[in-house]
Amino acid sequence: MTTRTDEATAVVTAVVTALERRAWHETVMGMPLSVHLRGPHLGGTERAVAAVITEMHRLDRIFSPYRPDSELRRYEAGHLTLRDCSPEMTEVVDLCKLATALTGGDFDARRPLPGGGLTFDPSGLVKGWAVDRASRHLCGLGVDWYVNAGGDIAAHVADEERPAWQVGIQDPADRSRVIALVSLRDGGVATSGTSARGEHLWDPHTGEAARGCASVTVVGPTLTWADVLATAVFVHGPEAAEWVAEDGYEVIVVHRDGRAERTLPRVPV
């Protein structure tokens, strides 16, 4: 005797086993970039993947805080006005202002300089935004894809019959372990924390390193905003997870004592 559930399970199993998978790896913006494709046929997809990687390198040349000839550095130094820059610069400046406003200042691209004054460092937003932007080249191929840039992931499943991508959330205390799983069909997962690069997130309100939680993961419709909101919750503290959930994002907070909790998005009725 078979039930509807049996049949559905059998179909999912058959679909998964019939799918071809391929991955590409590249270092961009000083971080590992992985592109994964999954679909019945992956032939002819190389060009789109190459376009993603090319776009990431192009955006790095504009926004790199390390390359002295980047538009960002020249804009920062006053050698370029916003009008002289690529249109992407205006977009990023606007998005950073919006992010600061929406998070009550918990996300802020302006960084204090040691000698006083502020510098504009949008890298906390650029990474997720660049991946969202570059991965557009993968839409329309009819295949499932995800792009993982240094631990932040944008993903899409092209066919409703195919399963969601299963994303493991790394345990900040032990990078060889995952502490939770999220399913992602369309959108982004971003994790902010101190496990990989030390205390690189600072609290704009105090000017000191933010160290409330061990890590904050945000899952939602776009990687750009998942990334901004993960930073904001990390800086503000776990109580901000509730506000982010109100906006339709899922939050996973891992505390320094190893406790972890999940806040599901509130969906408007």
Binding site: T5, D6, R21, G150, G168, Q170, L181, R197, V219
Partner: protein, 164 residues
């Protein structure tokens, strides 16, 4: 209704708190009134078959476990268990002894009173970490990984499998 699908083997000992992740189009959470209580036991790893005991409910029907039979699927509501955060109840679907779906149908609120799931933080129990560790994972999200840290990362291992 879509539910989280944890493809892969896992050991379930007592209650596992696993939350459904709602997709952007739908809530994944469904109330199962009057669900029956049962236990699931099994040793697991890889494709080892686990034993499922319990009264089924929901859409699934338990079928006798036979070798080389089509997949047998049961939906089982676990017992309502008191934790320090309140009462927690989970419904799981087991296919051929492997956990394929898990949905929390009751979680505590901040006052320890039962309520349907809303935007409340619920604890991720140790058991979920264990389940996650055994599940099929496509990608890993973590605090910014540098190129040097990447080499030994779980994501690198996943990439390796697909690189040509």
């Amino acid at each position: 209704m879509r539910k989280i699908v944890l493809a892969g083997a896992t050991t379930l000992s007592g209650l596992v708190l696993l939350m459904a992740y709602p997709t952007s189009t739908n809530r994944a959470v469904e109330s199962i009134p009057g669900a029956s209580s049962s236990t699931t036991q099994g040793t697991s790893s890889g494709t080892t078959s686990a034993t499922t005991q319990g009264t089924s409910s929901g859409t699934g029907t338990p079928a006798p476990q036979e070798a080389a039979a089509p997949p047998t699927t049961s939906s089982i509501s676990g017992p309502a268990v008191s934790t320090r955060w309140g009462t927690v109840q989970v419904q799981i679907t087991v296919t051929d002894g492997v956990l394929t779906e898990a949905t929390a149908i009751k979680v505590p609120d901040a006052n320890g009173q039962d309520r349907q799931i809303n935007s409340y933080a619920v604890p991720i129990l140790e058991a979920e970490s264990v389940a996650a560790g055994n599940a099929r994972i496509d990608a890993v999200s973590g605090a910014t990984v540098t190129s040097t840290g990447y080499i030994r990362s779980l994501q690198a291992a996943l990439d390796e499998a697909g690189l040509k």
